[in-house]
Amino acid sequence: MARSCRLSAPRPHNGLVWGVSAGRIRPADIVRPVMAGDPKPPPPGDPGDDPPRSDQGFVAMSYLISGIVVWGFIGWLVDRWLDFGGVATAIGAVIGAAGGVYLIARRLGA
């Protein structure tokens, strides 16, 4: 295949995907703009560039569970050590939940 290696500008429509050797063209440029009205990316720094996030629920749950598990575990270790009979675990879980809520407020509520 005599194919020019000096494809600087993307020339998308002449069989570029032959083999894996066309490394100079980013794979994203190979594909035609999928829809006719493919929007131009906004210039960086545009406030509209900040996309709405659809994963915040996972983040929130992850922080809460992590907080309770980590500090509950630390409290449980203290329980095993000083024999408090579960009180330290409970305090640890409450502290961890508070920490998780604080983190969610900082990361998601800023």
């Binding site: 659809s54 996972f58 983040v59 598990v69 500090w71």
Partner: protein, 261 residues
């Protein structure tokens, strides 16, 4: 595969974990677990993906053929609705990886409801675990590439006054570096495992009731009807889980790329 479908009525009723360890499909291999239906399904998945995307883009046209249109729709969906939406327009460079991940997981999950295959390779923890490890290494590498070694400080120390940091830093470490890969892998695995188990319970339960007494035949029929209904529910779960895996990977990459607060 056909032999299994015929041997199904004799299976033990309460299905268990051992139902996921299928016998080898290579007759000369003895009792090893090396080439099983699971292995074959993964190979078929990889072959389908490679052949489909290579042939779809062998000769791209300005007015796409049906196959090219389909490939472009998948890629465009992942690029626009996941990569760009989650990461911003910098995210286009991750779109190839995300698309591959999406297609691979989707096809692997789909084997769970394809008649004749009826078990998903994702219901073995090994495949989701390796995929999760790849995503884990990817987002850490992206973070280190962007911020240098300060990425770890950036990821672990939240914007908060100093006296409260000892409370928060362990939570951040746990949630960012331990829970993330674990939950990625377990979420996919558990959904596929539970889905397969659900279908097994209703299918084998029908046979078990029929074997117990013929009087229960109507209930067995109901049970099999439930199996078919649950197969459609599984189809939903399959799409949702592959989407969620890719969205969360994109979200972790976005977190690694984010600027300092």
């Amino acid at each position: 595969m056909l032999g299994q479908a015929i041997a199904l009525p004799q299976s033990e009723f309460p299905p268990g974990v051992e139902d996921f360890y299928l016998p080898t499909v290579v007759p000369w291999e003895g009792t090893g677990y090396w080439v099983t239906k699971i292995t074959l399904l993964v190979w078929v998945t990889v072959a389908i993906l490679i052949i489909f995307f290579l042939t779809a883009y062998r000769n791209p046209k300005l007015v796409p053929t049906k196959r090219q249109w389909f490939a472009e729709s998948i890629y465009g969906f992942v690029r626009n609705n996941i990569a760009v939406d989650m990461i911003g327009h910098k995210g286009v460079r991750f779109a190839p990886y995300l698309t591959t991940l999406f297609c691979f997981i989707l096809l692997n999950n789909l084997w769970g409801i394809v008649p004749g295959a009826q078990i998903s390779p994702s219901s073995h923890i090994a495949f989701p675990a390796i995929l999760a490890v790849i995503s884990y290494v990817l987002f850490i590498a992206v973070g280190v590439q962007k911020h240098g070694i300060g990425y770890f400080k950036h990821a672990v120390v939240p914007p908060a006054p100093g006296f409260i940091l000892p409370l928060l830093v362990p939570i951040e470490i746990f949630s960012n570096f331990l829970v993330r890969p674990f939950s990625l892998a377990v979420r996919l695995f558990a959904n596929m495992f539970a889905g397969h188990m659900l279908l097994l319970v209703f299918t084998l339960g029908g046979f078990a009731m029929l074997n117990a007494t013929p009087l229960l035949a109507p209930v067995s029929l109901l049970s099999w009807a439930m199996t078919i209904a649950l197969t459609f529910l599984e189809a939903l779960v399959i799409m949702l889980q592959s989407y969620v895996f890719v969205v969360l990977t994109a979200s972790y990459v976005q977190g690694a790329l984010a600027d300092e607060h």
